[in-house]
């Protein structure tokens, strides 16, 4: 799973400024820079900025990620990370079977969800593993579930019960025998990896699906604790992707006609810092999509194919941008209006 790291300079009495934004790879939290780091002109930004003075990370500071002022940061700067959901291969048997290199990453192939935690974390928590509907008949044997990372060492020491088959997947319980330290304000995350064997005409494929499960709520606004998985929308963990089912337009991938996939897409605000907005083009097009960004009345800086920093230049009353997401199966074009228009 990738994340976006942004560095913000905050000086008392002035508007916060975006100093740098970068996309980090899957291997670590803040240590593995895998794509070019962009450093903006930054510094002190104009006080005419729109919602200036407010740093918003997808709903609240450090939501779904982490914040800190590490030793690698310039003086007066604060770093934030926001995780980006990866889709991988679409959870379609034909698409997965066509991939030759194993394991095939298809995060939609299986999904973990946990029931609400009780006050005693050493008590078992019910979990469900839901297999993508189109794959169920081709999954061989019970999958294997592992916890591959977590925000706390104690969370890694979970014990998972054997899987029990259900109509759409499996049920299990997870126990943290030593308890766990659940951090307030949505800083707790557990990454589950489901490994399953999928039967294909040419043999089997090992498929890996990662589900990020965040603890939402807690001390935040008195909202009760709840585990929210990738695909849910949690009122405070807005960074977890939510893509509602496409209304009334099913896919026609099997048809010979073009644009068979009714691709769903939206532009998500990852962060607003002064006059800068960090935007993520979330979509269900799978990992092979290309992105074309178009901007009107502002400047655009790319920090990844699907992540950009957008700044209004004040030249038009309705600064906006669009992104076209294109792959072999479908296309989506979505637009974004700069908050509050130009300033």
């Amino acid at each position: 799973m990738r994340s976006v790291r942004i560095v913000v300079k905050q000086v008392t009495g002035s508007v916060p400024a975006l100093v740098a934004a970068s996309v980090l790879g899957a291997s670590g939290c803040g240590s593995a820079t895998s794509t070019p780091v962009h450093v903006s002109s930054g510094g002190t930004s104009s006080s005419s900025a729109g919602s200036g003075g407010i740093i918003v990370l997808a709903g609240s500071p450090a939501v779904g990620g982490s914040a800190g002022s590490g030793p690698d940061l310039p003086p007066g700067c604060q770093g934030y990370e926001v995780q980006l959901p990866d889709v991988g291969q679409p959870a379609v048997a034909g698409e997965i079977c066509a991939v030759q290199v194993e394991p095939v990453i298809s995060n939609g192939a299986a999904r973990i969800a946990l029931a609400q935690p009780g006050s005693d974390l050493s008590a078992p928590v019910a979990g469900t593993l839901t297999l993508a509907e189109g794959l169920r008949d081709q999954v061989q044997g019970p999958p294997v579930i592992e916890i591959v990372s977590a925000t706390d060492q104690m969370l890694l020491e979970a014990q998972l019960s054997p899987l029990e088959q259900t109509a759409d997947g499996y049920a299990f319980t997870v126990t943290w025998p030593k308890g766990a330290f659940l951090r307030a304000e949505d800083m707790t995350r557990v990454s589950f990896r489901t490994s399953l064997d999928l039967s294909c005409d040419t043999g089997t494929r090992l498929v890996n699906a990662v589900t990020e499960v965040h603890l939402c709520g807690g001390s935040f606004n008195g909202v009760p604790d709840v585990w929210a998985s990738t695909g849910d929308l949690c009122v405070v963990c807005n960074v977890i992707a939510e893509l509602a089912a496409s209304p009334i337009i099913p896919d026609h991938r099997e048809s010979g006609l073009p644009l068979g996939q009714a691709m769903r897409a939206r532009i998500v605000e990852l962060a607003k810092v002064g006059s800068s907005v960090v935007l993520f083009a979330e979509n269900d097009g799978g990992g092979r999509s290309s992105y074309e960004w178009h901007v009107t009345g502002g400047t655009l800086e790319h920090i990844a194919e699907d992540v950009v920093v957008f700044r209004s230049d004040g030249s038009t009353p309705a600064p906006s941008l669009q992104v076209a997401i294109v792959n072999d199966e479908g296309v989506a074009v979505v637009s974004y209006a700069y908050p509050g228009g130009a300033h």
Binding site: P224, L257, P258
Partner: protein, 568 residues
Amino acid sequence: MRKLPLYAVPDLASPDLVSPQAPAPRPQRVVLLGPIQQEPLALQYLAAAVRQAGHEAHVVPYANRAGLEDALQATLRLEPDLVGLGIAFQNHIDEYLLFLQQLRARGYGGHLTAGGHVPTFCYRELLSDLPELDSVVRHDGEETLVEMLELLARGRPLTGLKGLVWRENGRIVAGPVRVAKAELDALPWPERSPVPYSVGGLTVDFIISARGCVGECNYCSIAAYTSEQQKRYRLRRPEAVAEEIAALHHERGARVIFIQDDLFVLPSEARTIERTERLSLALRARGVSDLVFWVKGRPETITPAVAQALQRMGVIHLFLGIESANAERLEYLGRSHQPADNERAIAACRAAGVMPSFNFMLFDPDSTLEDLDATLTLAEAHLDLSWNVCRTEIYSGTALRQRLEQEGRLRGDYRTYGYEMRDPRAEVLFRILRVSLNERAFSLDSLLNRLISLSFSRQLHEVYFPGAHTERLAARVRQLCVEARGDTVRAIREAATFVAQENVFDSNVVRRFAVSQALRVNAADAERRRQVEELWQHLQVRGLELMKRRGVRSFPRVQADFGIAAGS
């Protein structure tokens, strides 16, 4: 005059709330969920029946995942004995299933049921797929739900009721269909939100004066629903409707009434005129005069005399079931009108000062590229009116669903039916437009839907606050509408020419065209969207202030989202 009920937890000891039948040993608490874009009258009718029987009912909004957490928490906090989910449309059914699953996963142990059009027809699929679901209520649910609560209160199993489907020894058992209650006026009034809805600063309210429809459109589930319960079309007495409207007017300051009947204008001209006149008379007798209406009708029934009668009643807006201007397509869809009826109805409305609005079903399973032209020509001739475009969708219980299944062309399942058109050029055109006009026309929050709401708001200001300032605002709204709709017709024609001339199987060429058209349309709409938002807010604030100056009751909070009037 009857008092208007608003949401409140009833005093269960009050004798007024006790059913004339045997009182329940223990009052039950019910939570009913469904989308609340407008006043959810279907749920409120159920809630009112529950309360009248001496139980407690709460209506909780839930439409999609964004509201999942709030809905779950609100439901669990109330600790209900029964939770009922109203599912009227299939396009968000996964969201409802998710709610049911999450509610159980979080430990809810009470009775879970679902009702509405989708469960009425898909009860077997829902109960098979969802072990969390205990039962399904079919058709109108007021009586069935109350009987369920009586059984629950006595600790008896919920089986054997008319209108109910339940589980028994691992089987799904459907009770006999419950014949619909003939007398709609015997039902208690639906209870309204204490925070009223507002368009253009005027308080709007919603009412039902009839249930069902006389039409037999192939794509609509209403005909199947009402014929099964043996009451196709039921009317309330105009005097009873007037009583309820008068309460909304006097107690809440309502100046706009959306009559949410599936069909308001009757097939008979004489009976429509008589009904509107009786309603007007009854309203005047109750001191109501300063009021306008939004209603629905079928093109073949809108004669000049009917349009004039509607205008005299106070109707300013008529949603017309035009659908298409092509005779073959209308016949395929099971419509009983001809293209000439469309023009006559629009002309009659314009002459009477009633604004018509409509939807164009540009595509259906058998439509061809050539079929589009007549409908686009009609659309082009009425750029100043409110309209949007869509594809005919497939719903459970409909003749069209059955036909496609018989033809082996039905795709998907009860959660999302679909199809591919016979004409590949029409199919590719639709796929292109679903990309390029997504934000303009197809999404719920599309520009054209927002313009429909804005136009209605403009119309209200023209009626209530005529003058130079209103004229200037109205001119801006009209210009935006004409530009956006004119450009929509141009874009559809451009895409139609493209698929007629190019190889529709060439993915690269088709993708490129879809992207370039979408970029152009969205870029043109960025400024329009900003202006629509600005005008919507301005009309809202202006209307609130002007009504306050007139001494009309104002509320500290109102619900004023675009969606309230998007069906206009």
